[in-house]
Structures are given as structure tokens and as C-alpha cells.
Amino acid sequence: MSNKGSAYGQAAGDTDFRKKYDLDEYAAKAAAREAAEKEERKARWEAKMAGKKYYKPMDGTETLTTARNATQDFSKMVGTTSLVPAGAGVGKRGRGAGFYCEACDLTFKDNLQWLEHTNSMQHQRNVGATGQVKKATAEEVHARIEALWQRQQELKREQVITLQERLEVRKEEEEKEREEKRRKRKEAEEKKRLEKEAALKAKTDYGEDVRIEGEHDEDDMMAAMGFTGFGTTTKK
């Protein structure tokens, strides 16, 4: 290795080396890709000749296919990248109107087509799955039953708790309502009392000579009938 007099010693030479190395690597990668593509074309051709469907060959990094965990909720997909707006092709390569599969770069017009696609071997291979499912042993089945049972009991307990909570909340609400009614009743009573007091005060203020229309009708009637000395007209 020649020293090109870089201030940093070997650095310049290193860079050259890396460039050359990158080029070599790039060429090697391109060659490998070309070989792989050629291999794939050949495999596709052979599969076609044998009347079979071609799948991307497995490289040993695949995982086993597993069952869906829960029902796919397609309503949740609205507004995500999986549901693309209308306008493009249907059931075709690339993004389009409907349900888009990232792994396969395909778009399907509805959830059924999309579901069928996810079940296809083509899709399984594209997401790196084998399309095979591991058999369960009796022990695994036993453990699953136990786990599901525990989960169900847990859910039931939670439901009981939420029920109790709901009952408590309702009790509180009812208590509040009662309190509110009591408050309103008291308020109304207080208002009445104040009004009464005010009326009383007004009468006293006005004195004997002042008469409010209709106010003393009853007294007048009583007087006419020969009764006196009732209520507020005691001074008379």
C-alpha cells in the first residue's frame, strides 16, 4: 500500500480501498441478483412446463404460518394506508381502490378478495411464511384450554367489578339527584318565605292608610260579616 501523504496517514488510501471494495461488492451483488433472476426464470419456466404454480423458493428463514389472532376488523383499516381512495385499478398490481397488500404490492376490491389473497401460498411466501402450521400436542391443547378458561374467568370478574362500579355510580347519581331536589325544595321554600316577608314588610311600610288593590278584600268581607281583629288588620 503506497503512502499518498495524507495528513491522516493511511486515510486516503483507505478511502480508495473502500471505493474499490464497494464497487467490487456492487458488481458481485449485481451478478448474484442476475444469477438469482435467471434461476427464478428457469424455475418459473419449469413450474409452468410441469403445470404447477411457481412460488418464491424458501431460504430457511421462513416462519410457520399461524392462525389469525382475532377477527380482522376492516372498519379499523379505514383511513390507514391499507385502504386507498378510489380511482386506480382493482385486484391489480400496485396501489388502487380497495384493500392493498404491502408484501405483494397488490390491491383487492373488497375484504373477501383480500382475505382469500392472504390465504394464498403466493402471499404466505411473500410475507416469509411456509404455509405450514405446527401441529399441537395434547399438552398444548390442555394448556390452551386452561389459558382460555382463566381469561374467561378474568373477564367475568371484571364484568362483576364493572357491574358493581356501575351500581355504585348509579347510587351516587341518585344521591346527587336527591340532594339536588332537596336543595331546590329548600330554595323554593326560602323564596316563598322571603316573598312573604317582603310582602309583610311592604304592608307595614305602607301603613294603615295605604291599600293595595285586592289585598284586603278578604278583611273587608270579614268586616262586612261582622268579624274583626284577624291577621294583619289587628290595628284597625
Binding site: A67, V133, A136, V141, R144, W149
Partner: protein
């Protein structure tokens, strides 16, 4: 019933394509000698693999996942429902079991440990056993559940009705059509007893002979023959 130590492959196909392709003689047969791929009628099979439930909930499912599906999705037994004859989740899962071919050890888990907790899991297991096991084993495996009085909902073409685990088991033992499925013709119990393939069944309520004797005595006493609702027609 004894394929406990079989050398079957460790894996299932996630889908049913190969299973249905093997409807000739190449696929492994059920213990009763039937081809599991053709046990359900063709029209029913087609409706099952076409159904959304089957595509979504039965793909990639193994023997343990079956339990999840039953707990999550099965709240009635039955074959097909409605004018479009939609297969029930129960029937779809039975079809999946035909593909998975669970061994006897697993079936015991479904029947006993799981069946005590989840009645529809027991219902599915007894149905599957009736379809695939030899007649003597069907009697032996199913009869204990003639004591299971838990309620089951049943959906059919005529709507929803109420039944019981014991009644469903009895149907499986005596009827020739259950859940949109023709049941293969088993030998009668007394025939199997004569062949000494089965011991006479001893019900927890007493043997059939005792019950009949009791009835005879009652008849002699002129009290009429009330069987008290005890089912003896096996």
C-alpha cells in the same frame, strides 16, 4: 382407538387444498375406514370452504387454535342455516377437525378437561368422534355424556331451538342425520354386545335390565310403567 404413537408429519397445511385433493385413496383414512375429506356431503363442503367464517377463522388453525375458535365463535350447534344454507361455525370447525385429524389424546382433552369448561367444545368433539371413530368407540366415548344436562342452542333451517348435550349425544347415537350430515350406519349396541365388543352399558341410574324389571314389577302392581323420563333407547 389407538393412534397415539403414530408417525404423522409434524405439520398441517394452513389451507384445505391438499386435503380436498386427496379425496381418492391417497389420503389417510379415519379410524372407521372413511375418507375424512368426503365425510361431509359435497354441497356442504363447498359451502364451508366458500364461507367467510371458514376462510377467516379456519386458515392456519391447529388443534389448540380450535379451542380458541370454539370459545370465541360457537354459541350454537347446527348444520346450515337460512335460505342460503350458510354453514354454522360449528360445522366449519368440524370440517377443519376432519382435516387436522386430532389424535385420541387431544380428543380426550376436548371431551373432558375442555368439555367440562366449554360445553360447545364437548359438542364439537362428540360430533367429530361420531363421524370418524369405529362404532364401539363411538358408544364408549359418547355414552358418558348422556348425563350432561347442559343446554345447547341449535340453529337449523327452521330457526333456533333449545337442546341439551345429552340429547345431542343421543341424536348422534340413534339418528342417521345430524347437523346437515348423514351419519354412517353403526352397528346397534346390542349387536356389538353379542359380538362381545362392548360390555352392557351401566347407566348411573342403573342398568337397562334393572329398569325394565322395575317397570315389569310396577306393571304387575298395576301402577303403570312410568320410566320417569329415563332414556334407554341406545
Amino acid at each position: 382407538m389407538g393412534d397415539r404413537k403414530s408417525n404423522k408429519p409434524e405439520y398441517h397445511r394452513a389451507d384445505e387444498r391438499r386435503f380436498l385433493d386427496e379425496r381418492g385413496s391417497s389420503g389417510p383414512l379415519a379410524p372407521n375406514g372413511l375418507n375424512p375429506a368426503t365425510i361431509l356431503e359435497k354441497a356442504v363442503r363447498e359451502r364451508i370452504v366458500d364461507s367467510y367464517f371458514y376462510k377467516e377463522q379456519c386458515f392456519g388453525v391447529n388443534e389448540a387454535d380450535i379451542v380458541d375458535r370454539v370459545v370465541e365463535h360457537v354459541d350454537h350447534i347446527g348444520g346450515v342455516t337460512g335460505t342460503v344454507q350458510k354453514p354454522t361455525p360449528f360445522l366449519c370447525l368440524a370440517f377443519k377437525l376432519l382435516q387436522l385429524a386430532p389424535n385420541d389424546e387431544i380428543l380426550e382433552e376436548y371431551l373432558q378437561f375442555g368439555g367440562e369448561k366449554f360445553k360447545y367444545l364437548r359438542a364439537l368433539a362428540v360430533f367429530y368422534i361420531r363421524l370418524t371413530r369405529q362404532d364401539k368407540d363411538v358408544y364408549l366415548k359418547l355414552e358418558p355424556f348422556l348425563e350432561d344436562r347442559r343446554k345447547l342452542r341449535r340453529k337449523g333451517r327452521n330457526g333456533v331451538s333449545l337442546t341439551y348435550v345429552d340429547e345431542f349425544v343421543d341424536d348422534l347415537l340413534v339418528k342417521d342425520r345430524v347437523c346437515a350430515t348423514s351419519l354412517w350406519k353403526m352397528r346397534r349396541r346390542d349387536v356389538l354386545e353379542d359380538l362381545e365388543l362392548l360390555e352392557p352399558r351401566v347407566s348411573p341410574l342403573g342398568s337397562l335390565e334393572d329398569l325394565l324389571e322395575e317397570r315389569d314389577e310396577e306393571m304387575k302392581d298395576g301402577e303403570g310403567g312410568g320410566m320417569g323420563g329415563v332414556r334407554v333407547g341406545v
